[in-house]
């Protein structure tokens, strides 16, 4: 396998990370909704924390995109 093919394969493998991050983001919102439906009164005050969790989960997926882009274009 030459280096170019290995790079493209690596970029493809990096896409797995994006899929895993989607599970994470789904989990964040699912758990928030679960809690929010049990106690709607407290839900609005926790939106900031919801988005901090979302940002953390999403960042790891975006990092895999960066790795894929670096492998393809660099």
């Amino acid at each position: 396998m030459d280096a170019e093919a290995a790079k493209l394969l690596g970029a493809g493998l990096a896409a797995i990370g994006a899929g895993l991050a989607s599970i994470g983001v789904g989990n964040v919102f699912a758990k928030f909704l679960e809690g929010a439906l049990r106690n709607p009164g407290a839900a609005d005050s926790q939106q900031g924390r919801l988005f901090i969790g979302f940002a953390g989960a999403e960042l790891l997926g975006l990092l895999s995109f960066v790795i894929a882009a670096l492998l393809i274009f660099k």
Binding site: G48, F51, I52, A55, E58, L62, L63, F65
Partner: protein
């Protein structure tokens, strides 16, 4: 079949000097007025016009004043919940930051290509978002050290840490603190770039499918187009969320600097 026209999804991010400013230089560095600078200026102009329109200070606000006031109220509430009473003085900074990023993201998504103007999303470049995040990080450092002097370093050792655990915890907290400006800028830039690449790739499916004949157009082109409309709506959501997340995380970091923890 005709020559396959290849759509380059990365071409939309190319930075080009405008108005023949290619050779402008200051101290040997090229300072050409690029399309990126043009759209930054446009975002600023639109933002200033938007805010000036709401500065009439009527007792019964009109629609425009109501729109501006809901944005300032939103930022004010965000700082009040995340930083507390000390956060009031950061409202102008967070407001400018949030609105600038929001307007930049939305201007980049505008379907102005229909009129021959191709919007450029400068938030899809790490140079632009990196400077914004370094600005936030610099404010955190300056405020933290000015307010708490060297006591600021207690930020890296949470309350109640056992003595044996202090060196590793300090190290881990220091790394996580130093990575902040990087992750803050990276998140915005990658989210915007990924979305725009996705839209470009889907539109190339529609165009190539249409060129390839009616069957392929029906099988590949039309579903891609429907998906693209959906993704466009998602991108509008992402543009708002990313601006919000950038402002929110800046608030959270400012809270560390103001109140330690």
């Amino acid at each position: 079949m005709a020559v396959e026209a290849k759509v380059d999804p990365m071409h939309q991010f190319a930075i080009e000097p405008l108005f023949g400013s290619n050779s402008w230089a200051v101290a040997g560095h090229n300072v050409a007025f690029t399309n990126s600078a043009l759209w930054m200026a446009l975002a600023t102009v639109v933002l200033v016009v938007f805010v000036l329109g709401g500065l009439k200070r009527e007792v019964v606000p009109g629609r425009w004043q109501m729109a501006v006031e809901s944005f300032t109220g939103f930022i004010d509430a965000m700082l009040a919940t995340n930083v507390g009473p000390n956060g009031k003085k950061y409202v102008p900074y967070i407001f400018s930051l949030f609105m600038f990023i929001l307007f930049a993201n939305f201007l980049g998504l505008m379907p102005l290509g229909l009129f021959g103007i191709h919007p450029f999303t400068f938030t899809s470049h790490f140079t632009a978002t990196g400077v914004l995040s370094i600005m936030s990080f610099a404010i955190v450092l300056v405020v933290g050290f000015a307010k708490h002097k060297l006591h600021f370093f207690s930020l890296f050792v949470p309350h109640g840490t056992p003595v044996a655990m202090i060196p590793p915890i300090f190290f881990v907290e220091l790394i996580s603190f130093l990575v902040r400006p990087f992750s803050l800028g990276l998140r915005l830039f990658v989210a915007m770039m990924a979305g725009h690449v996705l839209l470009e790739v889907l539109s190339s499916f529609v165009i190539s499918g249409g060129n390839a004949g009616p069957i392929l157009f029906a099988v590949a082109g039309v579903p891609s187009f429907v998906l693209m409309v959906g993704i466009c709506a998602l991108e509008i959501l992402v543009a708002g969320i990313q601006a919000y997340v950038f402002a929110l995380l800046t608030c959270v970091y400012l809270n560390d600097a103001e109140n330690l923890h």
